[in-house]
Symmetry: C2
Subunit: 389 residues, 2 copies
C-alpha cells in the first residue's frame, strides 16, 4: 500500500469582488490529486485536495519541498499501526521534515492541500464518508444529521448598490439558508450601516446576520463599529482587527458584548493557542474559525481541537472558515457549531455537493466514500484532468 503519485496544479479563484482587506482579481489556489495503489471498485483510490481561498496557490512549496519528501518516504513510514490504511499525521510529519518551527504561513497552506487529499484517501480506503470516519475516530461514533451552514457573501463589487446586495441575500434565503454573512470595513461606517440595514430588511433580524471586517479595523474603529452595530444583535462580528493582534481582540471584548468570531488567518496550533491565551475570546459566546484547509490540514486541526477542549471550549463554538467539504465533514463528524459555505463565490471550487439540500439553514451530510468532492461535478470534472495529463 503506497502513494504512487502526487500531482498539483494552480487554479484560478479570480473575481471582481473584494473584502475590507484584499481584492480577488488574481486569487489562485492549489489543488492536488494523490494516486495510491489501493484498489476500490476496480480502480486505484485517488484523493483530492482543494486549497481554501484567500492565500493563493502554493505550487513552489509543494513541488520543491513538501511533495518530494512524501514521495521519497518509505511507504511503511506513512502507514497507520494496522498497516491497512495511511496515517495522515505521519504524512504531515514527513512533509515538515527539516522545516523550522514558527513562520506558519504559505507552508501551512501548501501542507493543508496534501493533508485534505490524504483524509479523502483514508475515507475512500475504508469506503466511508469522511464525516463517518471522523465520528468513529474522534467523536465516539456520534455525529450530526444536519450541519449549520451559512453563506460567506456580501462582498464588495465595483458599482454594487444596495439592491444587488439585497438580491444576493434573498437568493441565499431562497436556497434554504437562514444565517447569512456580509463583508464590512471596506467602506466608511455610514455606508456599511446602510448596507447592514438593507440586508436586515431581507433577513429580518440581526440574529440571522454575521458581519466580517477581515482584520481591517484599528481598536478605535472596531470599538466605534461595535457600538454602532450593537443594537442589531448580530450573529457575530468577525475578525475585527489584525488576526495576530491579540491585545486588540482582548480589549475589544471589554467594549463589545455581542458574539465575535476569528481564527481563519491563524494556521497552527501555536497561533491558535496564543489566540485563546491572550485574545480574550469568550467561550460562552465567541466562535473559533480556524480553517483546516489553510493551516496544515485536519491533522493539525485535531491538535487545535484538543487544545480548545482543554481550554474549556465547546466544539459547538468551532465553525471552520473556507466553505469547503472538509469543514462540512468535520462539522458533521465532530459535532462542531457548523461550517461556512460558498454557494456563489470561488466557483467551481467553493460550495458543497450539487444536490446538497439546505433546509432552515442546515445541510445533511453525504453518504458516498471520501470527502465528497466527486459530488461537486464542476470541480470534479477539472480535478480529474490532473491525473490524466
Amino acid at each position: 500500500m503506497k502513494i504512487v503519485d502526487i500531482r498539483e496544479r494552480s487554479v484560478t479563484l479570480a473575481s471582481q469582488m473584494r473584502n475590507a482587506s484584499i481584492d480577488f482579481s488574481k486569487m489562485t489556489a492549489s489543488v492536488v490529486a494523490i494516486v495510491t495503489d489501493v484498489v476500490r471498485d476496480g480502480k486505484p483510490v485517488v484523493g483530492y485536495g482543494i486549497g481554501s481561498n484567500g492565500r493563493y496557490a502554493q505550487g513552489g512549496i509543494l513541488r520543491e519541498r513538501l511533495i518530494p519528501r512524501v514521495v521519497e518516504a518509505q511507504p511503511e513510514d506513512l502507514m497507520d499501526e494496522t498497516g491497512g490504511n495511511f496515517d495522515p499525521g505521519k504524512v504531515l510529519t514527513c512533509m515538515m521534515q527539516n522545516e523550522k518551527p514558527g513562520g506558519h504561513g504559505d507552508r501551512a497552506v501548501a501542507a493543508a492541500v496534501i493533508d485534505m487529499a490524504m483524509w479523502d484517501i483514508i475515507a475512500k480506503v475504508e469506503e466511508q464518508p469522511l464525516w463517518q470516519i471522523i465520528s468513529d475516530r474522534f467523536n465516539g461514533g456520534a455525529h450530526d444529521e444536519r450541519v449549520l451552514v451559512y453563506p460567506g457573501g456580501g462582498y464588495y463589487y465595483p458599482g454594487k448598490g444596495l439592491e444587488p446586495l439585497q438580491d444576493e441575500m434573498r437568493g441565499y434565503l431562497d436556497k434554504g439558508y437562514k444565517v447569512v454573512k456580509m463583508k464590512v470595513g471596506g467602506a466608511d461606517l455610514d455606508t456599511d450601516l446602510c448596507r447592514i440595514e438593507a440586508v436586515l430588511e431581507v433577513v429580518g433580524d440581526g440574529s440571522n446576520l454575521a458581519v466580517d471586517a477581515n482584520g481591517r479595523f484599528s481598536l478605535e474603529d472596531a470599538i466605534a463599529f461595535g457600538n454602532a452595530v450593537a443594537p442589531f444583535g448580530l450573529f457575530w462580528f468577525e475578525e475585527p482587527g489584525d488576526p495576530l493582534d491579540f491585545a486588540l481582540q482582548s480589549k475589544l471584548s471589554e467594549h463589545y458584548a455581542g458574539a465575535m468570531a476569528t481564527g481563519e488567518n491563524l494556521f497552527s496550533l501555536q497561533d491558535a493557542r496564543n489566540l485563546i491565551l491572550y485574545g480574550g475570546m469568550r467561550p460562552d459566546r465567541d466562535w473559533i474559525q480556524i480553517d483546516p484547509a489553510l493551516g496544515y490540514g485536519f491533522s493539525e486541526y485535531l491538535k487545535i481541537d484538543e487544545m480548545l477542549t482543554a481550554q474549556g471550549w465547546s466544539r459547538r463554538k468551532q465553525i471552520p472558515h473556507g466553505g469547503h467539504q472538509l469543514g462540512f465533514n468535520m462539522a458533521a463528524g465532530m459535532q462542531l457549531g457548523g461550517s461556512e459555505s460558498y454557494p456563489l463565490v470561488f466557483q467551481p471550487w467553493g460550495g458543497f455537493a450539487d444536490d446538497v439540500d439546505i433546509v432552515d439553514g442546515y445541510a445533511r451530510p453525504h453518504d458516498t466514500p471520501g470527502i465528497g468532492i466527486e459530488l461537486k461535478s464542476t470541480a470534479y470534472r477539472e480535478l480529474k484532468t490532473i491525473t490524466e495529463t
Copy 2:
C-alpha cells in the same frame, strides 16, 4: 527613475550539518537582482538581495505574486517624496497588495529578499554605504565604528566529536572573534554538557559562549537545561522552546536568571509585538534576534524597532539573526547590539566582506556604496550572473 527588471534565482545552502530542529541537506535560499535605470559610474544601478538561511528559497511566491506587483506598479508609486530615490516602504506595500493579514511565513521570507535589494539600491543611488544611510535617516547621524559580531557555529555534523568542535572554535578565535555560539538540544543533556565544557576550555569563560536550542525544548527540558548551564554564566541561551510558545518563554524566565535570546522565527511586527507583550522577555538582559532578511526586510524591521523602543527596549539589545551584511549595516547604522556572522557556514552566501577585519570580536563597517555584497567576491561572482542570462 524606475525598476527595469527583477530577476530571482534559487541557490543551494546545502550541507551535512544540523541543529536541534532541522538538517541542512536540502537547504536553499532565493537571491534577487533588481536592475534600475539609474546610472552611477556609467552603469545601471543593480541592487542585490540574498535570502537568509533556514527557510528555503521562495521562487514560487516571488514569481507568481511579489515580483509582478512591483514590476506592474507605476514608477511614481515606488518613489520617495523627493522623487530622487526609491522608497522601499512603498515597494513593500506594493508587494503586499491583496495579501491577507496574518500567516507571516514564506511570504515574509520572499518579500525580505526584494526589500534587501531595494535598500542596496537606495544606498547605491546615494553613493553611500547602507549603514551611513541608516544612520542618517534613522539614528540622527550617529553610528558605530565597530560592530560586535559572533559566529553562528557549533553545529552537529555526522561523526563530529569534541576535538573538531574545539578546533572550530579555536578557528573563530584565531579569526578575531571573542564571543562564539554553538548548537545545543540536538543531543541528550549529558552529551551537550560535555560539548559545552569542551568549548569552554577553548573560549575560556561562559561570557564568551552563547548556546542555541533552535526551539527544540519543552518547558520541562528547557528548565532542566537552564539549571544545568546556569553555573557557566553563558552569554545567552537562545530559542529554548517553540518560537511562538510565548507562555513557555515567559515561564522559563522565572527559572533561568541568565540572558536569553530569541526572535529569528518571528517574521512580522505583529509576531514580534506578541513576543514582547507575552513572552516575558527582560529588557535588562535578554536579546531580540529578529532577522530582517526573513521577515519582510529592513522596511518591516523599522516598525519592529519602533515598537521595541516604545516598549522600553534599548537598541543595544537587538542583534539580528542571519549573519548577512544587511544585519551588519543595521547594527553599525542604528547602533544595535551587534550582528550574527557566518565565517564558515552557508558559503558562499554567509559572511561579510572578504577583507573584513575582526579584532577582539568587533568588525568595522565597509566604505563602499550599498550593502557591500560586491565585497564578498564568491557571492558576487554568482550574483552577477543572474542579470547576464
